[in-house]
């Protein structure tokens, strides 16, 4: 291999790693939000990603209400709108199912409701997968946009070597970063964000402050679902998907959240970014089947060195 194409390959893998990583980061924030605030392990998160993809698909293609936006802007607006739609789905799932096995209702019981949560979210996951099969069918879909097959070529100044930036992935990455920053601002500076963090930190004390913890948990669950759905909508522009797509990504989401530090919502973004980056860059030396194995090798190394995750911190005074 000559040095020109080597440089080209490495740089392309690095940029793909960063762009894909940012989208994974957003996806992980959704799961991290639910786990960080409610301490609920949600096995159905992958299916909410899938619902986000389909929500975006039905919004922007065929007779969808966003079809008039055309194939350039439409898919990205569709991805953003998938957020509120899946937020509502998540809030309903919480109201009728999750709230019965979580929150103040199960606080202080022998397992804090974790066994119930495990079975309920696993059940939701299976129902959504197979329900998706009935409703959407099994042919793979993508949200078509001409941007996914065009790239910006950037010369690197070494012979003919240049980096190709896929336009769809680039825009998706920018949208993912914007949504992540917006969420960060909400969590850090608004009354709702602070109340969410207070309810996560100490639900009983939050109740003493007049914070309706169950209401905020519902909001957190909805937001977590909605954020992952936006990531799903973005991924749908460059990926073909079906009702079972969630399974591949739920594993990535969990490794991202654990890497970022359990409970650290923004850490989940960096965790997801790391996972996406490792996955893409490993393609340089490993066959595609081993890409996910590479994720877990890096995962194990990081967890070995920093068991609390990259951004996990202990606020407790010794």
């Amino acid at each position: 291999m000559d040095i020109e194409s080597l440089i080209e390959n490495v740089l392309n893998a690095l940029t793909a790693g960063v762009t894909i990583g940012c989208i994974y980061g957003l996806m992980c924030i959704g799961l991290g939000l639910i786990f960080g605030i409610m301490k609920v392990v949600n096995f159905a998160q992958g299916e909410l990603l899938m619902l986000g993809m389909f929500a975006s698909l039905y919004l922007v293609t065929g007779g969808g209400i966003l079809a008039f936006l055309g194939p350039y802007i439409g898919p990205f607006v569709g991805a953003l709108l998938a957020g509120p739609i899946v937020f509502v789905v998540g809030a309903l799932i919480h109201k009728f199912l999750i709230s019965r096995v979580s929150g103040l209702k199960t606080a202080g019981t022998i397992d804090d409701g974790h066994f119930g949560q495990l079975i309920v979210t696993l059940g939701i996951s299976l129902i959504l997968q197979n329900g998706g099969m009935i409703v959407f069918g099994s042919t793979p879909f993508t949200v078509q946009t001409p941007l996914s097959s065009s790239a910006i070529e950037v010369a690197v100044g070494y012979g003919d070597a240049s980096v190709f930036l896929n336009k769809a992935k680039l825009i998706a990455c920018a949208v993912a970063i914007a949504v992540a920053i917006a969420l960060y601002m909400v969590m850090e500076f608004t009354r709702i964000g602070k109340a969410l963090r207070a309810a996560a930190d100490n639900p009983t004390a939050a109740t003493y402050m007049g914070i309706n913890v169950d209401k905020y948990y519902r909001m957190a669950f909805g937001m977590g679902c909605g954020i992952t759905a936006i990531a799903g909508g973005l991924m749908a522009t460059y990926l073909s998907f079906g009702p079972f797509v969630g399974f591949d990504y739920v594993i990535i989401m969990y490794s991202g959240v654990v890497l970022g530090g359990i409970g650290s919502i923004m850490g989940a973004f960096w965790g997801g970014l790391t996972v996406g980056f490792v996955q893409q860059v490993s393609a340089l030396i490993l066959p595609p089947q081993l890409q996910n194995a590479a994720i877990f090798i890096v995962f194990l190394l990081i967890v070995l060195l920093r068991p609390q995750g990259l951004f996990g911190r202990s606020a407790e005074r010794a």
């Binding site: 602070k194 109340a195 963090r197 996560a200 939050a206 109740t207 402050m209 007049g210």
Partner: protein
Amino acid sequence: MLEVSNLSVSYGGLRALTDVSLSVAEGQFVTVVGPNGAGKTTLFKTISGVVRPAAGKITFFGKDLATISASDRAHLGIAHVPEGRQVFKTLTVRENLEMGAYPAAGQAAWSRTLDRIHTLFPILFERATQLAGTLSGGEQQMVAIGRGLACAPRLLMLDEPSMGLAPAVTDTIFERVQQIHKEDGVTILLVEQRVAEALELSDHGYVLETGHMVLDGPYETLLADDRVRKSYLGLT
């Protein structure tokens, strides 16, 4: 303002409180004393609604609290400073106080109460941006009390503010509680194991033993009672 009448509470068949009555008038300083496991914390948790009573009635300004959810009770002006402080460890000191001001009354009075809290506890101003979990026990207790004050309460309930604190720090805390009562005119309901100091501050005292209210009366009456003198004050 607060009337607790014939309250009984059970935890899965285990009686924690039996037929307990207590009343707090506006502007009063009322103390509940009693040994470990007497049910003092349970009494507070039932008033603030996180524990459901088996029988009995609690009214606040004539309003029956039975149908009012725990989180809504804070909006009525009941501030609960819980046992063991329970500050939001991962939030900053300032954010903790802001959460105390979550009810509308607290938000309306925010800039004034924040000044007041900083006057009472200047250290909280210095540590405003520090995570509350990194503070010492005494400082955390100040955050907890400040957080209670931030909602502009009509009734401030303090559950063992001296727990686990050095005597000198406890003295400061007691002094501040007295200031809050005298200068801000806040009605106070206090649970304490440091019986002598607590009763000295109060207009009216209750003695709770194994879930029963065994004695109540003004400071002088309790001080004259042999059992109180022997068991709680160590006097003969």
